[in-house]
Amino acid sequence: MNTAQQARWVRFTPTERIARSMVYIVVVVAVIWSLKTVEVIPEFLYDAPEQTADLLSRMWPFDWGYYPTVVHAAMIETIHIATLGTLLSLVAALPLAFMAARNFTPFPVLNWVAQFIFVTSRSVNSLVWALLFVAIFGPGALAGILAIAFRSIGFVGRLFGEALEEAQKGPIEALNAIGAPGSMVLAKGYWPQAEPAFWSIALLRWDINIRESAVLGLVGAGGIGLALNASLDNLYWDEVGLILAVILLVVMATEIISSKIRARII
């Protein structure tokens, strides 16, 4: 380049360009491979428009009478499952997050153990956790709460651990310098700095958990999903429509509530 009369400016190094082109090629190949080999039954597709029209006509009008008898209580149970599950995960994730934060726990082995728990928790879908807990505790809300909690530990723990690692050293060193005990350093040094992040993460997860707990009943873990499953099995689409509408309303309300709380406490 030095010998060239004019400097030629290139945005990417050759390796970068090769890497990018490789990615594009891989994407194209992957899409074509998937399209060619994925199993789609064309006979089912021909009547898709009729099936959809049929579905909608069966859904509307909703079976409003089903709301007071079953849906209301089931929806309340779903909200409780999501909230209790979130609270349980907060209780479990808090010590683990401190264990994972490298500035608070200077032992790599403990950091690693906490990270491993987080990865395991996040890698298993909440529906799978629900399957496992239904097998252990039997169908019902308990399995749902535990499924929500186990799935959320990894999410809350990892994010809160990262928030703790971002805590400024100043207040902590000051507390250490005056000889404050470890519990005091934690409560007055780390916690006030990370508290807004903690509540923000908790709200975010609660929001997600309301959505997720609505389907846990499909595998027997309580709440509105149980009612949904029963209606689906009976092909009572007017009940299904009502349940979906109620879920939609609750999810939207949750989103509004959580953004209001977030604006107030953070």
């Binding site: 994925v38 789609v40 898709a48 879908n125 399957l131 809300a141 879920i247 939609l248």
Partner: protein, 269 residues
């Protein structure tokens, strides 16, 4: 000021860490809620204790995981289908997200258009992908297609929302400069908008590929194809050793995908 009393250490102390009653009340309220909710919900201690004993037998039945070749072939084909669902739903979902996100960006579109596009995104976001796949199973029948369509909806809900936000946060100067030269609409999109947001768009896409892969292992529970169907059948037949094999295989797949997604993001940074 002259009448202020001599400083006394006790009042300093209370000023350093004052008691915050509204905060304490919030904690108390939370505690009361937990007591109330656990009392009305079907959760009892004895059930929990009995379950722990149950858990032992359950785990014992899971071990050792199933390794018979014909069962492994089942797991393999299920995982393959999940991967296909993830790839296709991400590809088409992202393809659809692009125009929807541009329509939803309030700095490019008139309010009427952006509100309509935002409505579409909000509806896509509100339903869990398993519920959406129930509806698609009814519409297009059992199999991978229902799962693909359900995850396309989920992809639009996530990617289009974040992409629209990214477009709203970009600098408007290049757009105005191009407008001043009289450039047509699509030139503005390709030369002023996309270059600014492309990097973030790739970030969202790899994230969504990762989460579509996770979710594609679950749509099978309601008939949407992939490994979820195999998992749920094995579970219903109490083949817990096969369940464990499937879980291990799924977790390995997800971890590989996460590592690949991180790599991919680094290439495009």
């Amino acid at each position: 000021m002259s009448t202020s009393p001599a400083p006394n250490p006790a009042s300093w102390r209370s000023r350093a860490f004052p008691a915050r009653w509204n905060k304490r009340m919030a904690w108390l309220g939370l505690l009361l809620y937990v007591i109330y909710a656990t009392s009305i919900i079907d959760v009892t201690w004895e059930r929990f204790v009995r379950g722990i004993a149950n858990g032992g037998t359950f785990l014992a039945r899971m071990f050792p995981p199933e390794t018979a070749p014909e069962r492994m072939a089942l797991v393999y084909s299920g995982l393959l289908e999940s991967i296909q669902i993830a790839i296709l739903s991400t590809f088409f979902g992202v393809l659809l997200s692009l125009p929807i996100a541009l329509l939803a960006a309030r700095n490019l579109m008139p309010p009427m258009v952006s509100w309509a596009a935002r409505g579409v995104i909000a509806i896509c976001r509100s339903f869990h992908y398993v519920i959406v796949s129930i509806l698609f199973v009814k519409a297009v029948g059992f199999g991978a297609l229902a799962g693909i369509l359900a995850l396309i909806v989920a992809t639009i809900g996530f990617v289009a929302k974040l992409f629209a936000e990214a477009v709203e946060e970009m600098s408007m100067k290049p757009v105005e400069a191009l407008r001043a030269t009289g450039a047509p609409f699509f030139s503005i999109i390709f030369l002023a908008v996309l270059p600014q947001v492309a990097a973030r768009f790739i970030g969202f896409t790899t994230y969504q590929l990762d989460s579509n892969l996770r979710n594609s292992t679950m749509v099978g529970i309601v008939g949407g194809g992939g490994i979820g169907a195999t998992l749920f059948t094995a579970y219903r037949r109490f083949d817990y050793d096969l369940v464990l094999t499937i879980l291990i295989a799924t977790i390995i797949l997800i971890m590989i995908a996460e590592a690949l997604a991180t790599r991919l993001r680094r290439i495009f940074q």
